[in-house]
């Protein structure tokens, strides 16, 4: 990259279960809380100096529509001179918002900008309003399973028989345990922005912790869960992320700008990569994208000392670990747990 891009800070709202904590809260209001919380934590940054706001959502209609990037900027009280745009790469929306902003910073067209994502899966159930082209099935461009994420996870189990349900369940249990421990140690709360929430069931509240974690999870409990994607399958609600609501926001800058303003630098971007695989086993995607990124960086997998792998499905994480010869319980992997415990509001997760 021509200019070094740094992560100055990143925050998120607590995540909720779809239809529960945030049932009466708008998606754009969640996004606004994340942006305002980010700016409040970084008072050295003049809001007027923000040069762009890239916000992701997988469904861009209703309270996630109206160009959510620009709309969230205006609703956050950023001056109307700050532009904004919307991004979509489904689950990797916020990640793509970050890499797109990073590209602009590296090229020298921006110096400081916000990237984030939001998904209110209660207001926008996965697959809402989809109208797949009939050619997908008529010409077998993808198999039917490719459009149901849980079915793709079952396919991943089929493809790699060594990835057993027992391993997936054990990984999921470990994720719950790691998140519970991180909560006990106060490691998760510090990046959560308290968020006003309203639901018919729970009334008004200020959310300060994630709603989805299930610290009481046991292997016996996981073993008895139904497999909704296939009779006698292996993918269960226990070894998958749930349906969730939440928003995330990150502040990115050129290293020069961060130093000039005296901002903290939490991480420096080395490189990024996206890659495609067979849609039927989408969970395998992180393997080629990581190989590509490592090659670009001139690094080997042994050089990586910390892994943050989104846990859409346990099988997808262990498929990645298996490929690289990393143990399922390696302490370098998701030390604070992951999406199986805290939830996966699709387009927001990339910044978490």
């Amino acid at each position: 990259m021509s200019r070094t891009v740094v992560l100055v800070d990143a925050v998120r709202t607590p995540f909720g279960k779809a239809g529960s904590l945030y049932a009466g809260t708008r998606a754009d209001d969640l996004m606004v809380r994340a942006i305002r919380g980010l700016l409040e934590r970084n008072p050295k940054v003049d809001p007027a100096s923000i040069e762009d706001v890239a916000i992701a959502a997988a469904t861009q209609t209703g309270d996630q529509g109206m160009n959510i990037g620009r709309s969230a900027a205006l609703l956050s009280g950023l001056p109307n001179t700050v532009p904004g745009y919307s991004v979509d790469r489904w689950c990797a929306g916020a990640m793509t918002a970050v890499t797109t902003i990073a590209g602009a910073i590296a090229m020298g067209t921006n110096e400081i900008a916000i990237a984030g994502g939001v998904e209110h899966m209660g207001n926008h159930p996965i697959g809402e309003g989809l109208d797949p082209n009939p050619r997908y099935l008529a010409e077998r461009i993808v198999e039917q399973d490719a459009l149901a994420m849980g079915a793709t996870a079952e396919r991943l189990h089929d493809r790699f028989p060594q990835l057993t349900k027992e391993r997936a369940d054990r990984y999921a249990l470990n994720s719950q345990i790691k998140t519970a421990k991180a909560y006990e140690e106060g490691k998760i709360q510090r990046d959560l922005i308290p968020t006003a929430a309203r639901s018919a069931e729970l009334g008004w509240t200020i959310a300060t912790v994630d709603e989805p974690p299930r610290p009481q999870t046991t292997m016996e409990g996981l073993a008895g869960l139904k497999t909704p994607f296939r009779p006698a399958g292996r993918v269960t609600p226990g070894n998958s992320s749930g349906l969730n609501d939440g928003a995330t926001a990150a502040l990115l800058a050129s290293e020069e700008k961060a130093l000039e303003l005296g901002l903290t630098i939490k991480a420096k971007m080395v490189t990024f990569a996206f890659a495609g695989v067979e849609p039927e086993i989408m969970g395998y995607g992180p393997v080629p994208s990581t190989l590509k990124a490592l090659k670009q960086a001139g690094l080997k997998i042994e050089d990586i000392g910390a892994f943050e792998i989104n846990e859409a499905f346990a099988v997808q994480v262990i498929a990645f670990l298996d490929h690289f010869g990393i143990a399922d319980d390696d302490p370098r992997v998701n030390p604070y747990g992951g999406a199986i415990a805290v939830g996966h509001p699709l387009a927001s997760s990339g910044v978490r």
């Binding site: 489904w90 689950c91 996206f274 989408m282 992180p286 990586i304 892994f307 943050e308």
Partner: protein, 42 residues
């Protein structure tokens, strides 16, 4: 990313980390990050 940043803070012996995720319709994304707190290997 925010979790990885916290890991970087707690582990100055770690130089590089990745954030990665799978994406519907068959994709993956990976970002490699360098730890600004890196103080040399253990």
């Amino acid at each position: 990313m925010l979790n990885l940043a916290r890991t970087f803070e707690a582990h100055p012996e770690v130089r590089y980390g990745i954030t990665t995720m799978c994406i519907g319709l068959g994709m993956g994304g990976t970002v490699i990050w360098e730890n600004p707190n890196f103080k040399g290997a253990k």
